[in-house]
Symmetry: none
Amino acid sequence: MNAEIIAVGSELLTIGRMDTNSLYLTGELNNIGVEVVAKSVVGDDRDRLAEAIRGALSRSQILILTGGLGPTEDDVTREATAQALDRKMVFHAEIAELLEQRFARMKRKMAEINKRQAFVIEGADVLPNDRGTAPGQWVEDSGAVAMLLPGPPHELKAMFERQCLPRLERIVPKLAIRTLFLRVTGMTESDLDQTISPVYRKYTNPATTILAANGDLQVHLRSRCATAEEADALLAEVGGPIEAVLGDRIYSRGGEPLESVVGGLLRAAHATVSVAESCTGGMLGERFTTVPGSSDYFVGGFITYTNEMKTELLGVDPQILGQFGAVSRETAEAMAAGARRRTNSTYSVAITGEAGPNASSAAAPVGLVFVAVADGEKISTVQRQFLGDRTRIRTFTTQMALDILRRRLLRAALPNAM
Amino acid sequence: MNAEIIAVGSELLTIGRMDTNSLYLTGELNNIGVEVVAKSVVGDDRDRLAEAIRGALSRSQILILTGGLGPTEDDVTREATAQALDRKMVFHAEIAELLEQRFARMKRKMAEINKRQAFVIEGADVLPNDRGTAPGQWVEDSGAVAMLLPGPPHELKAMFERQCLPRLERIVPKLAIRTLFLRVTGMTESDLDQTISPVYRKYTNPATTILAANGDLQVHLRSRCATAEEADALLAEVGGPIEAVLGDRIYSRGGEPLESVVGGLLRAAHATVSVAESCTGGMLGERFTTVPGSSDYFVGGFITYTNEMKTELLGVDPQILGQFGAVSRETAEAMAAGARRRTNSTYSVAITGEAGPNASSAAAPVGLVFVAVADGEKISTVQRQFLGDRTRIRTFTTQMALDILRRRLLRAALPNAM
């Protein structure tokens, strides 16, 4: 079975924006054995969109439309789909009521224009949206299905996962599909590919994909066979050697993010952590607390952006700052020790570095960072030189900091550690 | 004049890859007054691609195809275009010879298969490629033009700039283009639209686009006229009333992000700021320090994720926490006051809230947040109830916190403030 994806919105045709929902949807569709054969972006033009919808439904059995479900006149996906299918639009009073209740919960009066979101294509199923105002729609027509999903990724993902996937699984022919999803850090994309391509290169099934973003790497393997046994066997044949060669550079199997893996290790060790951040300005704390329930192990910390704050809040000796500079091993270690002392956490992670774009002193080039991890017994520090812009340097630094703590926790958990 | 872009290649339909050439091409086309009205990605399937080409040329005067010009059987752009235009392919011996010379310069023998790249659509102009083996093609047909360009960005850019732009400028009517770009916060997308649509609705020129992401709103206006004077006048006619009605909800003209605007106001006021973050875990500090040079005004702060840390690091009275709870106006105010006292910054911004997914106490529902801003004289606190998931609640909260500080700084800068 084939699918097409149409992202709707004139803003997605400007230089500043891209449709990225289609990447998520492609992954989910591939997982149930559906191939994406075309995708497109169409502006807020009803006739043009209707034509694109007609074309897609004449070629493919599954069409996903994203965006254009808002309340404004620019939002034409509902009307364009009705036009393409030659169906009427029906007002659903119960949707209008839910919308009004949602606004009431926010203590606001619903604008009249929001009622446009209560119109449903004749014969379509309504897909409730618990994360936003735009309900989705599921319309079947002549053996094909069109799904109308909201554009904001967090709304789209929840709706697709909870409401579209179960419906799709009923109509998509069963193929046994097995996936292996490894998350890897601490190496570059080309190192990763060079390390594992001798293993996967000979196979088209399973299909192997490598993704890289912000120092985080993903390896996806997908085998598709007539039987589960065959799919399992093929996946093991390729995935086993890949896992062996990567070792502990694999930090999760199944998609758990690094923050969450580290949190799990802290929780298992009954340990707590605090942070002391200079150039990352709070990004490491932000990442720790992305995880629900992180208050079990994350206590808090310090953002010490200036030298004065490093001294005042963390007790870093001004002599250390004067002699070695703010971006130095000595300062990182003093920051980690200070944060641990003042929060009484089991571990403390300190970051200091030069995120750019301009170096503030000749001693610390842009991209030079130090990450120190302290516990009650010792402080270990890693120095790295990153390349790229401010965002890249800060993101790679927090990634490295989380990975250093992960390895430290893994070693501490070994029976013969120390 | 309208354009469409088709990126060709099955690899662009996987989860790991995106077509980014279209962003470059969109910028270049907009610069000469051409709108991109649709873009799509089609896999290596000749019939499907031919159909997409026919469709695009029936709607738009300009079609740019990128990729699929290589020597292998997967490379179907040439054949698909010929099929769509119902034209023959012609072998150009002089192209084959250039290809052979190119291989000879690399001291390699050309594979027979590379001769496929010497086939040209009947009546097309050949666009030489000095950065790769795939020549491009320029085909005019029934008042429309199709350009076949190579996929690698550095080859595509050179070919488009040197060979397509001069040709396009001969056929595209000269237009003067003027743009207005407003960034707005503190209202919802539908409120924004309701507020300004009475102004812009009557006009298709300038074109008005509203974008919304994470509580941040953008309004883009673009006028296109025969003369610069007319384009300026039209833009003022629509943009002026929009600016007037939005007032200080506009935080920047020209794209400067909120963090940077707030930073500019702090710098102008010779003021400093610190943060005290609970549920946002460092995200506010992270946003302040996204801006290069933010150490001029951002000193640092505290991440106090637990009650103990609020007391230890910020001096929040345990009685306040006990009586009102961590998520309360009283706690927010005590956090702001404590952070200001301990950092000696001009302003301190404190955030406490329940980011979910589960409420830790009945008193604070998920999404309830308090933001307090303290200076030496007073503390003002705003309470809000956000909806959505953890990421949305945290992002909207930091957006609101930055906006509260922005408004406070604007008021303080007025001559008769206080």
